[in-house]
Amino acid sequence: MNLDDIKDILELVREHDLAEFELERDGLKVRIRKAGREYVLAGTAPAAAPVAAPVAAPAPAPVPAAAVVVDEGVPLAVIKAPIVGTLYRSAEPGAKPFVEVGTAVTKGQVLCIIEAMKLMNEIECECDGEIAAVYVENGQPVQFGDRLFAVKVG
């Protein structure tokens, strides 16, 4: 799948005036939603990657890139869980949450804590902007890749 393929698909989608188009095959996933508010285009597999050694030396996991979603012309960054664990929205029990919808945030600001193996991992914001959505509740277990917050970039 390359850019031309995607262009062709989009052309087809336009031509047929589709609302949604989804293609999933061999670890590749394309989803296009037309005539609406949200466009997502995400590739989930590197095309024919060279075979990785089955047991590689440990290395820190890269935090998954925030998916960028276009909402009414304003780019939205979705912050996802980089680790498995229990999520806390505030620094300590009973304290005020780090952020709420509408809170203005800056890059590097702590949005929540995920506890894993008794360690409190601070999850930082990856861009400047304003919290547009909160997908999680205090004390909730989160898996790798779960959506935590949406930030209106700006």
């Binding site: 590689a56 890269p62 277990p141 890749g145």
Partner: protein, 459 residues
Amino acid sequence: MFNKILIANRGEIALRIICACREMGIKTVAVYSEADEHSLHVRFADEDVCIGPARSADSYLSVPAIISAAEITGADAIHPGYGFLSESAYLAEVCEACHIKFIGPDPNVIRLLGDKARARRAMKKAGVPILPGSDGPVQGEENAIKVARELGFPLIIKAVAGGGGRGMRIVRNVEELPGLVKTAMREAEAAFGLGDVYLERYVESPRHIEIQVMGDHHGNVVHLGERECSVQRRHQKLIEEAPSAALTEKQRRKLGATVVEAARAVQYSNAGTFEFLLDATGNFYFLEVNTRLQVEHPVTEFITGIDIVKEQIRVAAGEKLSVRQGDIEFRGHAIECRVNAEDPEVFTPSPGLITAYSVPGGPGVRVDSFVHSDCTVSPYYDSLIAKVITYGRDRHEAIARMTRTLEMTVIEGIKTSIPLHLKILNDPDFVAARYNTSFMERFMPPARNAAKGPLAESA
């Protein structure tokens, strides 16, 4: 008994453990990387947790991710399967600290037997035959030469923290020793973060024999007989069988008793495998202990009728072994072929979409697999896609059954090692059980065959 077990693995072994848990009425938690979202082990576990991206180091090898997954799901035990973290004393320790039961030996036992030099000493003390060797890391060139002269040539340099052939070198004369020691140390340092190596007498073309043991926390240890795994390609076992045609009943009993004694001496609990080299004159030499479930455990299950995974879970929960040595009967013969997604001639991996999949039934056939029609074999992990195990009243029947089973197996869309297995099964030396760890050399492609590298043992 446990209420919920987290399975820190993927593929066929994750499914195998789910089977055992379901039979025991225990709930299961699957963990998976993003690449395994649609895997059967995720489908058939009661709960599932995504623990990271495709790369093993960030998912299946991540102790924090696994422990967190156990904590958020309330699992009270972790089964590590084989590979990945199955021999991680660290995971076992963290489990202990978190009050989660690690289904395997105690961390100190894993640590002891994971250090090849310490394991050697412990086995020697317990009366297990070991190869003459340096009894500890070599200290500089002069010491190495002195030890080597005492041992005689050929000898082998091995990494203390070793495994998988890395940090290993065969030495044929004293001249090449200093250079090879340096290379091996560099390799060991790079691979394991520890450059220590030791010397051991080298056995030419041995047979690979291993003894399955099971211990509980009440001091009971039994052995479940041996498996022969001499059909190897670069430390990768291709075919395993039980019993071994190379052992007499007397040798079996004696070796079994020695191993049980040694396991008891190190307070071994849960499942483990003691690996030995058998030389051309009938002597056994200790190689290493695998402190975990083995890929080839089904051949032992076939000839003993014992479910090793269920037994592991029982003893980890504090129960006694369900069998005593006297109850264990060996009946018939079993063979396992490891079907890999790889080119059967040049051994390059062949991941991709399986477009058709079918395996025949009939008596004496077991297939442990995680693949199916329309499933994608991921390039990120081990190439093992199915273990085909056959059982017969004798070795002849088990081989005939394996041959027809593989001939009637349909796997389309990717290449598999089945054609290579069929060649081996038809080989007159294999049929006559006249083989050792050099056996596979004749099946190697010419280019690779010529390539240098430490041959045989381990895996």
